[in-house]
Protein backbone atom coordinates (compact mmCIF):
# COMPACT_ATOMS: atom_id res chain seq x y z
CA UNK A 1 0.00 0.00 0.00
CA UNK A 2 1.29 3.40 -0.83
CA UNK A 3 1.70 6.02 1.77
CA UNK A 4 1.75 9.40 0.13
CA UNK A 5 4.94 11.27 0.97
CA UNK A 6 4.57 14.63 2.63
CA UNK A 7 5.77 17.63 0.72
CA UNK A 8 9.46 17.38 1.29
CA UNK A 9 11.32 20.53 2.33
CA UNK A 10 13.92 19.73 -0.33
CA UNK A 11 11.34 20.49 -3.01
CA UNK A 12 11.93 24.15 -2.35
CA UNK A 13 15.25 23.83 -4.14
CA UNK A 14 13.49 22.94 -7.34
CA UNK A 15 11.21 25.92 -7.48
CA UNK A 16 11.53 28.83 -9.81
CA UNK A 17 13.17 31.80 -8.11
CA UNK A 18 10.20 34.06 -8.64
CA UNK A 19 7.79 31.52 -7.23
CA UNK A 20 9.52 31.28 -3.89
CA UNK A 21 7.81 32.10 -0.65
CA UNK A 22 9.36 32.73 2.75
CA UNK A 23 8.19 29.28 3.78
CA UNK A 24 10.39 27.87 1.04
CA UNK A 25 13.32 29.85 2.39
CA UNK A 26 12.73 28.24 5.78
CA UNK A 27 12.60 24.78 4.24
CA UNK A 28 15.87 25.54 2.47
CA UNK A 29 17.35 26.62 5.81
CA UNK A 30 16.31 23.34 7.36
CA UNK A 31 17.81 21.20 4.64
CA UNK A 32 21.11 23.10 4.58
CA UNK A 33 21.29 22.95 8.37
CA UNK A 34 20.81 19.22 8.27
CA UNK A 35 23.44 18.79 5.58
CA UNK A 36 25.94 20.84 7.60
CA UNK A 37 25.39 18.55 10.56
CA UNK A 38 26.33 15.61 8.38
CA UNK A 39 29.70 17.16 7.65
CA UNK A 40 30.60 17.87 11.21
CA UNK A 41 28.54 16.99 14.20
CA UNK A 42 30.56 19.17 16.56
CA UNK A 43 30.32 22.09 14.19
CA UNK A 44 33.93 23.09 14.66
CA UNK A 45 34.94 23.09 11.04
CA UNK A 46 31.77 24.44 9.59
CA UNK A 47 30.83 26.96 12.22
CA UNK A 48 31.92 30.08 10.37
CA UNK A 49 30.43 28.75 7.18
CA UNK A 50 27.23 27.93 9.01
CA UNK A 51 26.75 31.46 10.25
CA UNK A 52 27.65 32.99 6.93
CA UNK A 53 25.01 30.83 5.34
CA UNK A 54 22.59 31.96 8.04
CA UNK A 55 23.35 35.57 7.12
CA UNK A 56 22.85 34.95 3.43
CA UNK A 57 19.60 33.13 4.05
CA UNK A 58 18.39 35.99 6.27
CA UNK A 59 19.02 38.38 3.41
CA UNK A 60 17.32 35.98 1.06
CA UNK A 61 14.30 35.82 3.35
CA UNK A 62 14.08 39.61 3.34
CA UNK A 63 14.30 39.80 -0.42
CA UNK A 64 11.73 37.08 -1.06
CA UNK A 65 9.38 38.66 1.43
CA UNK A 66 9.77 42.12 -0.06
CA UNK A 67 9.38 40.79 -3.55
CA UNK A 68 6.18 38.95 -2.76
CA UNK A 69 4.72 41.91 -0.88
CA UNK A 70 5.51 44.28 -3.74
CA UNK A 71 4.01 41.83 -6.18
CA UNK A 72 0.83 41.65 -4.15
CA UNK A 73 0.61 45.41 -3.88
CA UNK A 74 1.12 45.91 -7.59
CA UNK A 75 -1.45 43.27 -8.40
CA UNK A 76 -3.97 44.95 -6.15
CA UNK A 77 -3.28 48.32 -7.70
CA UNK A 78 -3.61 46.89 -11.14
CA UNK A 79 -6.90 45.24 -10.27
CA UNK A 80 -8.22 48.46 -8.77
CA UNK A 81 -7.26 50.42 -11.85
CA UNK A 82 -8.81 47.80 -14.10
CA UNK A 83 -12.11 47.93 -12.32
CA UNK A 84 -12.02 51.75 -12.36
CA UNK A 85 -11.45 51.63 -16.08
CA UNK A 86 -14.29 49.19 -16.62
CA UNK A 87 -16.59 51.36 -14.60
CA UNK A 88 -15.73 54.48 -16.56
CA UNK A 89 -16.19 52.72 -19.89
CA UNK A 90 -19.58 51.47 -18.83
CA UNK A 91 -20.70 54.90 -17.68
CA UNK A 92 -19.69 56.68 -20.85
CA UNK A 93 -21.46 54.14 -23.08
CA UNK A 94 -24.79 54.48 -21.29
CA UNK A 95 -24.47 58.29 -21.18
CA UNK A 96 -24.56 58.98 -24.98
CA UNK A 97 -28.42 59.36 -25.32
CA UNK A 98 -28.66 62.50 -23.24
CA UNK A 99 -27.39 65.89 -24.34
CA UNK A 100 -26.47 68.57 -21.96
CA UNK A 101 -27.76 72.02 -22.79
CA UNK A 102 -25.49 75.02 -23.20
CA UNK A 103 -25.54 77.91 -20.80
CA UNK A 104 -28.23 79.94 -22.63
CA UNK A 105 -30.21 77.16 -24.26
CA UNK A 106 -33.53 75.54 -23.69
CA UNK A 107 -34.38 71.94 -24.37
CA UNK A 108 -37.81 71.56 -25.88
CA UNK A 109 -39.78 68.39 -26.12
CA UNK A 110 -41.46 68.49 -29.54
CA UNK A 111 -44.38 66.47 -28.30
CA UNK A 112 -45.24 68.83 -25.52
CA UNK A 113 -48.61 70.53 -26.30
CA UNK A 114 -47.58 73.49 -24.21
CA UNK A 115 -44.35 74.02 -25.98
CA UNK A 116 -43.50 77.54 -27.05
CA UNK A 117 -44.45 78.10 -30.71
CA UNK A 118 -44.44 81.78 -31.51
CA UNK A 119 -41.79 84.38 -31.73
CA UNK A 120 -41.78 87.60 -29.81
CA UNK A 121 -42.47 89.61 -32.98
CA UNK A 122 -45.55 87.57 -33.77
CA UNK A 123 -46.78 88.01 -30.24
CA UNK A 124 -46.29 91.77 -30.38
CA UNK A 125 -48.27 92.13 -33.59
CA UNK A 126 -51.14 90.10 -32.24
CA UNK A 127 -51.31 92.14 -29.08
CA UNK A 128 -51.31 95.40 -31.03
CA UNK A 129 -54.17 94.24 -33.16
CA UNK A 130 -56.12 93.23 -30.18
CA UNK A 131 -55.66 96.56 -28.51
CA UNK A 132 -56.84 98.41 -31.64
CA UNK A 133 -59.85 96.23 -31.95
CA UNK A 134 -60.67 96.80 -28.34
CA UNK A 135 -60.47 100.52 -28.79
CA UNK A 136 -62.79 100.39 -31.82
CA UNK A 137 -65.19 98.27 -29.88
CA UNK A 138 -65.36 100.79 -27.10
CA UNK A 139 -66.03 103.64 -29.49
CA UNK A 140 -68.78 101.68 -31.14
CA UNK A 141 -70.33 100.88 -27.79
CA UNK A 142 -70.35 104.46 -26.69
CA UNK A 143 -71.89 105.51 -29.92
CA UNK A 144 -74.61 102.96 -29.42
CA UNK A 145 -75.21 104.30 -25.98
CA UNK A 146 -75.59 107.77 -27.26
CA UNK A 147 -78.05 106.62 -29.84
CA UNK A 148 -80.06 104.78 -27.28
CA UNK A 149 -80.29 107.69 -24.98
CA UNK A 150 -81.43 109.96 -27.80
CA UNK A 151 -78.51 112.28 -27.67
CA UNK A 152 -77.66 111.53 -31.15
CA UNK A 153 -80.58 111.85 -33.62
CA UNK A 154 -80.88 109.05 -35.94
CA UNK A 155 -81.82 111.29 -38.94
CA UNK A 156 -78.49 112.64 -39.24
CA UNK A 157 -76.67 109.60 -39.99
CA UNK A 158 -74.11 111.73 -41.79
CA UNK A 159 -73.22 113.37 -38.56
CA UNK A 160 -73.00 110.04 -37.01
CA UNK A 161 -70.27 109.04 -39.28
CA UNK A 162 -67.57 109.66 -37.04
CA UNK A 163 -64.45 109.17 -38.81
CA UNK A 164 -63.42 105.98 -37.40
CA UNK A 165 -60.51 105.59 -39.60
CA UNK A 166 -58.52 102.53 -39.35
CA UNK A 167 -56.35 103.16 -36.46
CA UNK A 168 -53.19 104.98 -37.23
CA UNK A 169 -49.88 103.22 -37.55
CA UNK A 170 -48.58 100.92 -34.99
CA UNK A 171 -46.56 103.70 -33.52
CA UNK A 172 -49.50 105.44 -32.05
CA UNK A 173 -51.32 102.61 -30.40
CA UNK A 174 -52.77 103.54 -27.05
CA UNK A 175 -51.03 101.16 -24.82
CA UNK A 176 -53.46 101.63 -22.01
CA UNK A 177 -57.22 101.95 -21.83
CA UNK A 178 -56.76 105.40 -20.37
CA UNK A 179 -55.79 106.74 -23.72
CA UNK A 180 -58.80 105.01 -25.26
CA UNK A 181 -61.00 106.72 -22.75
CA UNK A 182 -59.50 110.08 -23.63
CA UNK A 183 -60.38 109.54 -27.27
CA UNK A 184 -63.87 108.63 -26.31
CA UNK A 185 -64.46 111.77 -24.31
CA UNK A 186 -63.03 113.80 -27.14
CA UNK A 187 -65.59 112.27 -29.46
CA UNK A 188 -68.47 112.87 -27.09
CA UNK A 189 -67.43 116.46 -26.80
CA UNK A 190 -67.71 116.70 -30.52
CA UNK A 191 -71.20 115.36 -30.50
CA UNK A 192 -72.49 117.55 -27.72
CA UNK A 193 -71.18 120.56 -29.56
CA UNK A 194 -73.15 119.62 -32.58
CA UNK A 195 -76.43 119.27 -30.76
CA UNK A 196 -76.15 122.63 -29.31
CA UNK A 197 -75.83 124.20 -32.65
CA UNK A 198 -79.22 123.01 -33.69
Amino acid sequence: MEVREEASPALAFEKDAFQLTVEDVYDISYVIGRDLLKISSTGEEVSDLQFRIVRVLEMFETLVNKYNLSLEELKMERDNLKSELDRIIKESSTGQGTQTAGPNQLVVDLKDPNRPRFTMQELKEVLQERNQLKAQLMVAQEELQLYKSGILPQAEPAMVEVDLEPPPSADHIPATTDEVKEEKTAISKLFSFRRKRE
Binding site: V3, Y26, Y30, S47, R55
Partner: protein
Protein backbone atom coordinates in the same frame (compact mmCIF):
# COMPACT_ATOMS: atom_id res chain seq x y z
CA UNK B 1 1.19 45.92 -17.31
CA UNK B 2 4.07 48.01 -18.60
CA UNK B 3 3.76 50.01 -15.44
CA UNK B 4 4.15 46.86 -13.37
CA UNK B 5 7.24 45.79 -15.22
CA UNK B 6 8.91 49.15 -14.83
CA UNK B 7 7.86 49.30 -11.19
CA UNK B 8 9.26 45.86 -10.53
CA UNK B 9 12.44 46.75 -12.37
CA UNK B 10 12.81 49.84 -10.26
CA UNK B 11 12.32 47.80 -7.14
CA UNK B 12 14.72 45.17 -8.36
CA UNK B 13 17.31 47.88 -8.75
CA UNK B 14 16.62 49.18 -5.30
CA UNK B 15 16.99 45.71 -3.89
CA UNK B 16 20.16 45.12 -5.85
CA UNK B 17 21.63 48.25 -4.36
CA UNK B 18 20.52 47.07 -0.96
CA UNK B 19 22.09 43.66 -1.43
CA UNK B 20 25.31 45.29 -2.59
CA UNK B 21 25.38 47.43 0.50
CA UNK B 22 24.76 44.42 2.69
CA UNK B 23 27.44 42.32 1.07
CA UNK B 24 29.88 45.22 1.39
CA UNK B 25 29.00 45.48 5.05
CA UNK B 26 29.44 41.79 5.46
CA UNK B 27 32.80 41.85 3.69
CA UNK B 28 33.87 44.69 5.97
CA UNK B 29 32.83 42.73 9.01
CA UNK B 30 34.65 39.68 7.79
CA UNK B 31 37.89 41.53 7.18
CA UNK B 32 37.69 43.09 10.59
CA UNK B 33 36.97 39.69 12.07
CA UNK B 34 39.93 38.16 10.28
CA UNK B 35 42.20 40.99 11.30
CA UNK B 36 41.45 40.48 14.97
CA UNK B 37 40.90 36.80 15.62
CA UNK B 38 39.14 36.66 18.92
CA UNK B 39 38.98 33.71 21.19
CA UNK B 40 35.44 33.71 22.39
CA UNK B 41 34.38 32.36 25.72
CA UNK B 42 30.91 31.25 24.69
CA UNK B 43 28.93 33.76 26.72
CA UNK B 44 26.52 36.54 25.94
CA UNK B 45 26.55 39.75 27.89
CA UNK B 46 23.38 41.72 28.41
CA UNK B 47 22.39 44.71 30.54
CA UNK B 48 20.03 44.07 33.41
CA UNK B 49 17.46 46.44 31.93
CA UNK B 50 17.53 44.49 28.68
CA UNK B 51 16.34 41.31 30.37
CA UNK B 52 12.70 41.79 29.44
CA UNK B 53 13.64 42.64 25.87
CA UNK B 54 15.68 39.46 25.76
CA UNK B 55 12.76 37.35 26.91
CA UNK B 56 10.44 39.17 24.54
CA UNK B 57 12.58 38.60 21.46
CA UNK B 58 13.94 35.13 22.04
CA UNK B 59 10.90 33.55 23.69
CA UNK B 60 7.62 35.42 23.36
CA UNK B 61 7.91 36.81 19.86
CA UNK B 62 10.01 34.09 18.33
CA UNK B 63 8.29 32.21 15.53
CA UNK B 64 8.79 28.44 15.49
CA UNK B 65 9.69 28.72 11.84
CA UNK B 66 12.42 30.91 10.47
CA UNK B 67 15.83 30.91 8.90
CA UNK B 68 17.77 30.65 12.16
CA UNK B 69 15.56 28.19 14.00
CA UNK B 70 15.23 25.98 10.96
CA UNK B 71 18.98 25.80 10.52
CA UNK B 72 19.90 25.59 14.20
CA UNK B 73 16.79 24.48 16.08
CA UNK B 74 18.33 24.60 19.54
CA UNK B 75 19.54 28.18 19.07
CA UNK B 76 17.14 29.81 21.57
CA UNK B 77 18.20 27.35 24.26
CA UNK B 78 21.88 27.98 23.60
CA UNK B 79 21.48 31.74 23.54
CA UNK B 80 19.59 31.71 26.82
CA UNK B 81 22.17 29.46 28.38
CA UNK B 82 25.02 31.69 27.20
CA UNK B 83 23.35 34.60 28.97
CA UNK B 84 22.99 32.47 32.08
CA UNK B 85 26.68 31.64 31.90
CA UNK B 86 27.64 35.28 31.78
CA UNK B 87 25.51 36.22 34.79
CA UNK B 88 27.16 33.36 36.65
CA UNK B 89 30.58 34.52 35.44
CA UNK B 90 29.92 37.99 36.87
CA UNK B 91 29.04 36.33 40.15
CA UNK B 92 25.84 38.34 40.09
CA UNK B 93 23.32 36.19 41.95
CA UNK B 94 20.45 38.65 41.66
CA UNK B 95 20.91 39.01 37.95
CA UNK B 96 21.11 35.26 37.50
CA UNK B 97 18.06 34.52 39.60
CA UNK B 98 16.09 37.22 37.82
CA UNK B 99 17.09 35.79 34.45
CA UNK B 100 16.16 32.23 35.35
CA UNK B 101 12.77 33.31 36.63
CA UNK B 102 12.19 35.47 33.58
CA UNK B 103 13.01 32.55 31.30
CA UNK B 104 10.67 30.20 33.11
CA UNK B 105 7.81 32.73 33.14
CA UNK B 106 8.45 33.55 29.53
CA UNK B 107 8.18 29.95 28.41
CA UNK B 108 5.10 29.44 30.58
CA UNK B 109 3.49 32.46 28.97
CA UNK B 110 4.22 31.47 25.41
CA UNK B 111 2.82 27.99 26.08
CA UNK B 112 -0.31 29.42 27.61
CA UNK B 113 -0.83 31.89 24.80
CA UNK B 114 -0.45 29.14 22.22
CA UNK B 115 -1.81 26.18 24.11
CA UNK B 116 -3.50 24.76 21.03
CA UNK B 117 -0.70 25.49 18.62
CA UNK B 118 1.06 22.25 17.84
CA UNK B 119 4.10 23.91 16.29
CA UNK B 120 4.75 26.28 19.17
CA UNK B 121 4.32 23.50 21.71
CA UNK B 122 6.69 21.24 19.81
CA UNK B 123 9.25 24.03 19.44
CA UNK B 124 9.29 24.93 23.11
CA UNK B 125 9.18 21.35 24.30
CA UNK B 126 12.30 20.78 22.27
CA UNK B 127 14.06 23.97 23.42
CA UNK B 128 13.12 23.57 27.06
CA UNK B 129 14.59 20.09 26.96
CA UNK B 130 17.74 21.48 25.30
CA UNK B 131 18.07 24.16 27.97
CA UNK B 132 17.63 21.55 30.66
CA UNK B 133 20.40 19.51 29.11
CA UNK B 134 22.67 22.57 28.92
CA UNK B 135 22.09 23.35 32.57
CA UNK B 136 23.08 19.80 33.45
CA UNK B 137 25.98 19.53 31.03
CA UNK B 138 27.60 22.70 32.28
CA UNK B 139 26.58 22.35 35.89
CA UNK B 140 29.93 21.06 36.97
CA UNK B 141 28.35 17.88 38.30
CA UNK B 142 30.47 14.89 37.41
CA UNK B 143 27.77 12.61 36.13
CA UNK B 144 26.88 15.13 33.44
CA UNK B 145 30.42 15.88 32.39
CA UNK B 146 31.45 12.50 31.16
CA UNK B 147 31.16 13.31 27.47
CA UNK B 148 32.39 16.86 27.64
CA UNK B 149 35.30 18.11 25.61
CA UNK B 150 37.94 19.85 27.68
CA UNK B 151 36.66 23.15 26.41
CA UNK B 152 33.15 22.34 27.46
CA UNK B 153 34.27 21.37 30.94
CA UNK B 154 35.99 24.69 31.20
CA UNK B 155 32.73 26.40 30.40
CA UNK B 156 30.89 25.02 33.37
CA UNK B 157 29.10 27.34 35.75
CA UNK B 158 31.56 28.77 38.20
CA UNK B 159 29.62 30.24 41.03
CA UNK B 160 26.06 29.15 41.28
CA UNK B 161 24.10 25.97 41.61
CA UNK B 162 20.99 26.01 39.54
CA UNK B 163 19.62 22.58 40.40
CA UNK B 164 16.49 24.06 41.94
CA UNK B 165 15.75 26.00 38.80
CA UNK B 166 16.47 22.86 36.83
CA UNK B 167 13.75 21.12 38.77
CA UNK B 168 11.26 23.86 38.00
CA UNK B 169 12.26 23.76 34.36
CA UNK B 170 11.85 20.00 34.35
CA UNK B 171 8.31 20.30 35.72
CA UNK B 172 7.60 22.90 33.06
CA UNK B 173 8.83 20.52 30.40
CA UNK B 174 6.47 17.82 31.68
CA UNK B 175 3.61 20.30 31.55
CA UNK B 176 4.45 21.24 27.97
CA UNK B 177 4.69 17.58 27.05
CA UNK B 178 1.19 16.84 28.31
CA UNK B 179 -0.25 19.85 26.55
CA UNK B 180 1.55 18.77 23.41
CA UNK B 181 0.20 15.22 23.62
CA UNK B 182 -3.31 16.54 24.25
CA UNK B 183 -3.25 18.63 21.08
CA UNK B 184 -2.04 15.70 18.99
CA UNK B 185 -4.59 13.35 20.51
CA UNK B 186 -7.34 15.77 19.68
CA UNK B 187 -6.24 15.87 16.06
CA UNK B 188 -5.72 12.14 15.78
CA UNK B 189 -8.80 10.81 17.59
CA UNK B 190 -11.46 11.47 14.90
CA UNK B 191 -9.32 9.51 12.46
CA UNK B 192 -8.82 6.40 14.54
CA UNK B 193 -12.04 4.43 14.31
CA UNK B 194 -12.78 5.34 10.69
CA UNK B 195 -9.19 4.69 9.65
CA UNK B 196 -8.47 1.56 11.65
CA UNK B 197 -11.84 -0.14 11.65
CA UNK B 198 -14.38 1.21 9.27
CA UNK B 199 -12.52 1.88 6.08
CA UNK B 200 -11.97 -1.21 4.03
CA UNK B 201 -8.70 -0.96 2.21
CA UNK B 202 -8.34 -4.65 1.46
CA UNK B 203 -9.43 -5.66 -1.98
CA UNK B 204 -11.03 -8.88 -3.05
CA UNK B 205 -13.27 -9.08 -0.06
CA UNK B 206 -16.97 -9.48 -0.67
CA UNK B 207 -18.32 -6.16 0.25
CA UNK B 208 -21.08 -6.11 2.72
CA UNK B 209 -23.13 -3.04 3.28
CA UNK B 210 -20.71 -0.55 4.74
CA UNK B 211 -21.19 -0.18 8.43
CA UNK B 212 -22.21 3.21 9.69
CA UNK B 213 -20.00 6.06 10.83
CA UNK B 214 -18.70 6.69 7.39
CA UNK B 215 -20.65 9.90 7.40
CA UNK B 216 -21.23 11.73 10.57
CA UNK B 217 -23.70 14.55 10.40
CA UNK B 218 -22.27 17.95 11.15
CA UNK B 219 -18.76 16.63 11.43
CA UNK B 220 -15.61 18.01 9.94
CA UNK B 221 -15.47 15.65 7.01
CA UNK B 222 -17.81 15.55 4.04
CA UNK B 223 -18.80 12.54 1.98
CA UNK B 224 -15.61 12.45 0.02
CA UNK B 225 -13.36 12.83 3.01
CA UNK B 226 -13.47 9.58 4.88
CA UNK B 227 -10.53 8.93 7.10
CA UNK B 228 -8.46 5.95 6.10
CA UNK B 229 -5.37 4.31 7.47
CA UNK B 230 -3.41 6.61 5.14
CA UNK B 231 -4.88 9.62 6.88
CA UNK B 232 -3.60 8.30 10.19
CA UNK B 233 -0.15 7.61 8.78
CA UNK B 234 0.04 10.99 7.11
CA UNK B 235 -0.89 12.72 10.33
CA UNK B 236 1.71 10.76 12.25
CA UNK B 237 4.27 11.72 9.62
CA UNK B 238 3.34 15.37 9.94
CA UNK B 239 3.82 15.23 13.69
CA UNK B 240 7.11 13.42 13.30
CA UNK B 241 8.46 15.81 10.70
CA UNK B 242 7.69 18.87 12.82
CA UNK B 243 9.31 17.35 15.90
CA UNK B 244 12.39 16.49 13.87
CA UNK B 245 12.59 19.96 12.37
CA UNK B 246 12.55 21.41 15.84
CA UNK B 247 15.52 19.28 16.74
CA UNK B 248 13.62 17.34 19.39
CA UNK B 249 15.74 14.69 21.04
CA UNK B 250 15.11 11.26 19.57
CA UNK B 251 14.32 9.76 22.96
CA UNK B 252 11.52 12.24 23.46
CA UNK B 253 10.15 11.65 19.97
CA UNK B 254 10.05 7.94 20.70
CA UNK B 255 8.04 8.53 23.87
CA UNK B 256 5.59 10.69 21.97
CA UNK B 257 5.11 8.10 19.26
CA UNK B 258 4.58 5.35 21.78
CA UNK B 259 1.91 7.38 23.53
CA UNK B 260 0.13 8.08 20.25
CA UNK B 261 0.24 4.45 19.22
CA UNK B 262 -1.26 3.51 22.57
CA UNK B 263 -4.13 5.88 21.85
CA UNK B 264 -4.74 4.32 18.47
CA UNK B 265 -4.73 0.80 19.86
CA UNK B 266 -6.88 1.49 22.89
CA UNK B 267 -9.46 3.53 21.02
CA UNK B 268 -9.80 0.87 18.37
CA UNK B 269 -10.05 -1.98 20.83
CA UNK B 270 -12.67 -0.22 22.91
CA UNK B 271 -14.73 0.30 19.80
CA UNK B 272 -14.60 -3.38 18.95
CA UNK B 273 -15.90 -4.16 22.41
CA UNK B 274 -18.94 -2.02 21.76
CA UNK B 275 -19.89 -2.96 18.24
CA UNK B 276 -21.01 -6.40 17.28
CA UNK B 277 -20.74 -5.58 13.62
CA UNK B 278 -17.03 -4.93 14.07
CA UNK B 279 -16.52 -8.42 15.40
CA UNK B 280 -16.10 -10.30 12.18
CA UNK B 281 -13.37 -12.30 10.55
CA UNK B 282 -13.04 -9.71 7.85
CA UNK B 283 -12.61 -6.88 10.30
CA UNK B 284 -9.98 -8.93 12.05
CA UNK B 285 -8.04 -9.17 8.82
CA UNK B 286 -8.43 -5.46 8.15
CA UNK B 287 -7.13 -4.58 11.60
CA UNK B 288 -4.09 -6.81 11.28
CA UNK B 289 -3.39 -5.24 7.91
CA UNK B 290 -3.56 -1.76 9.37
CA UNK B 291 -1.31 -2.74 12.23
CA UNK B 292 1.26 -3.93 9.73
CA UNK B 293 1.12 -0.55 7.99
CA UNK B 294 1.75 1.15 11.31
CA UNK B 295 4.68 -1.16 11.90
CA UNK B 296 6.05 -0.29 8.48
CA UNK B 297 5.75 3.36 9.31
CA UNK B 298 7.77 2.88 12.47
CA UNK B 299 10.52 1.17 10.49
CA UNK B 300 10.50 3.95 7.92
CA UNK B 301 10.98 6.56 10.61
CA UNK B 302 13.52 4.42 12.43
CA UNK B 303 11.42 4.31 15.54
CA UNK B 304 11.48 0.59 16.19
CA UNK B 305 13.18 1.13 19.51
CA UNK B 306 10.25 3.16 20.68
CA UNK B 307 8.40 -0.06 21.51
CA UNK B 308 5.34 1.66 20.22
CA UNK B 309 4.27 -1.52 18.51
CA UNK B 310 3.92 -3.21 21.89
CA UNK B 311 1.08 -0.90 22.77
CA UNK B 312 -0.86 -2.38 19.88
CA UNK B 313 -0.60 -5.92 21.14
CA UNK B 314 -4.01 -6.14 22.79
CA UNK B 315 -5.58 -4.93 19.56
CA UNK B 316 -3.48 -7.29 17.54
CA UNK B 317 -4.55 -10.24 19.65
CA UNK B 318 -8.18 -9.23 19.44
CA UNK B 319 -7.89 -9.13 15.67
CA UNK B 320 -6.30 -12.56 15.65
CA UNK B 321 -9.10 -13.82 17.87
CA UNK B 322 -11.64 -12.64 15.33
CA UNK B 323 -9.95 -14.55 12.55
CA UNK B 324 -9.08 -17.80 14.21
CA UNK B 325 -11.25 -20.91 14.43
CA UNK B 326 -13.36 -21.03 17.49
CA UNK B 327 -14.87 -24.46 17.75
CA UNK B 328 -12.58 -27.15 19.11
CA UNK B 329 -10.94 -27.69 22.47
CA UNK B 330 -7.62 -27.13 20.82
CA UNK B 331 -8.84 -23.76 19.61
CA UNK B 332 -9.87 -22.83 23.12
CA UNK B 333 -6.42 -23.71 24.46
CA UNK B 334 -4.71 -21.75 21.73
CA UNK B 335 -6.84 -18.74 22.46
CA UNK B 336 -6.04 -18.69 26.13
CA UNK B 337 -2.36 -19.15 25.40
CA UNK B 338 -2.15 -16.42 22.80
CA UNK B 339 -4.36 -13.68 24.14
CA UNK B 340 -2.11 -12.73 26.98
CA UNK B 341 -2.82 -9.04 26.69
CA UNK B 342 -6.58 -9.44 26.87
CA UNK B 343 -8.40 -10.13 30.10
CA UNK B 344 -11.12 -12.81 30.37
CA UNK B 345 -13.91 -10.24 30.27
CA UNK B 346 -12.65 -8.93 27.00
CA UNK B 347 -12.10 -12.34 25.45
CA UNK B 348 -15.56 -13.51 26.35
CA UNK B 349 -17.10 -10.33 25.07
CA UNK B 350 -15.43 -10.74 21.71
CA UNK B 351 -16.45 -14.37 21.45
CA UNK B 352 -20.04 -13.53 22.25
CA UNK B 353 -20.11 -10.60 19.89
CA UNK B 354 -18.61 -12.50 17.05
CA UNK B 355 -20.72 -12.06 13.92
CA UNK B 356 -20.36 -14.44 11.03
CA UNK B 357 -19.99 -12.86 7.61
CA UNK B 358 -22.21 -15.27 5.76
CA UNK B 359 -24.69 -18.02 6.30
CA UNK B 360 -22.11 -20.78 6.17
CA UNK B 361 -20.31 -19.56 9.20
CA UNK B 362 -21.70 -20.31 12.57
CA UNK B 363 -21.77 -18.13 15.62
CA UNK B 364 -19.53 -19.07 18.46
CA UNK B 365 -21.33 -21.67 20.52
CA UNK B 366 -21.99 -20.88 24.14
CA UNK B 367 -20.40 -24.16 25.14
CA UNK B 368 -17.15 -23.00 23.54
CA UNK B 369 -17.32 -19.77 25.41
CA UNK B 370 -17.79 -21.65 28.66
CA UNK B 371 -14.82 -23.84 27.80
CA UNK B 372 -12.62 -20.78 27.30
CA UNK B 373 -13.93 -19.21 30.47
CA UNK B 374 -13.04 -22.24 32.52
CA UNK B 375 -9.53 -22.20 31.12
CA UNK B 376 -9.20 -18.56 32.12
CA UNK B 377 -10.55 -19.10 35.58
CA UNK B 378 -7.25 -18.68 37.29
CA UNK B 379 -6.43 -15.50 35.51
CA UNK B 380 -5.97 -12.62 37.79
CA UNK B 381 -5.91 -9.05 36.79
CA UNK B 382 -8.21 -6.50 35.36
CA UNK B 383 -11.90 -7.11 34.86
CA UNK B 384 -12.30 -3.96 32.88
CA UNK B 385 -13.84 -4.36 29.50
CA UNK B 386 -12.58 -1.06 28.16
CA UNK B 387 -9.10 0.38 28.17
CA UNK B 388 -8.41 3.81 29.58
CA UNK B 389 -7.57 5.87 26.50
CA UNK B 390 -6.43 8.71 28.73
CA UNK B 391 -3.69 6.65 30.27
CA UNK B 392 -0.38 8.41 29.77
CA UNK B 393 3.01 6.82 30.14
CA UNK B 394 5.19 8.79 32.42
CA UNK B 395 7.48 11.04 30.43
CA UNK B 396 11.16 11.22 31.27
CA UNK B 397 13.83 13.66 30.18
CA UNK B 398 17.08 11.69 30.34
CA UNK B 399 20.24 13.70 30.10
CA UNK B 400 21.46 14.20 26.53
CA UNK B 401 24.70 16.13 26.22
CA UNK B 402 25.33 18.22 23.14
CA UNK B 403 28.56 18.42 21.23
CA UNK B 404 28.00 22.06 20.34
CA UNK B 405 30.90 24.31 21.21
CA UNK B 406 29.40 27.46 22.70
CA UNK B 407 32.32 29.66 21.61
CA UNK B 408 31.47 29.09 18.02
CA UNK B 409 27.93 30.33 18.27
CA UNK B 410 27.12 33.70 16.76
CA UNK B 411 23.91 35.63 17.18
CA UNK B 412 22.22 36.08 13.80
CA UNK B 413 20.71 39.48 13.16
CA UNK B 414 17.20 38.28 12.35
CA UNK B 415 16.73 37.38 16.01
CA UNK B 416 16.91 41.10 16.85
CA UNK B 417 19.26 40.57 19.75
CA UNK B 418 21.74 43.26 18.85
CA UNK B 419 21.88 44.36 22.47
CA UNK B 420 23.70 41.16 23.38
CA UNK B 421 27.47 41.21 23.28
CA UNK B 422 29.36 38.11 22.32
CA UNK B 423 31.99 37.45 24.89
Amino acid sequence: LKLQVSELQRQKQELEVHVEEQSRELAAKQTSALAIPKDYLGMLEYKREDESRLVQNIILDLKPKGVVVNMIPGMPAYILFMCVRHADYLNDGAKLKSLMNAIISGVKKVIMDHHKDFEVLSFWLSNTYHLLNCLKQYSGEEEFMKQNTPRQSKNCLQNFDLSEHRQILSDLAIHIYHQFIAVMEKTLTPMIVPGMLVHESLQGISSMKPTGFRKRSGSIYEDSETYTISSILQQLSAFHSTMSQHGMEQGLIRQVVKQLFFLVGATTLNHIMLRKDMCSCRKGMQIRCNISYLEEWLKEKELQTSNAIDTLRPLSQAAWLLQVNKSTDGDAKEITDTCTELNPVQIVKILNSYTPIDDFEKRVSSSFVRKVQSLLQDHEGSTQLMLDTQYHFQVTFPFCPSSQALELLQVPSSLHLGFLTRI
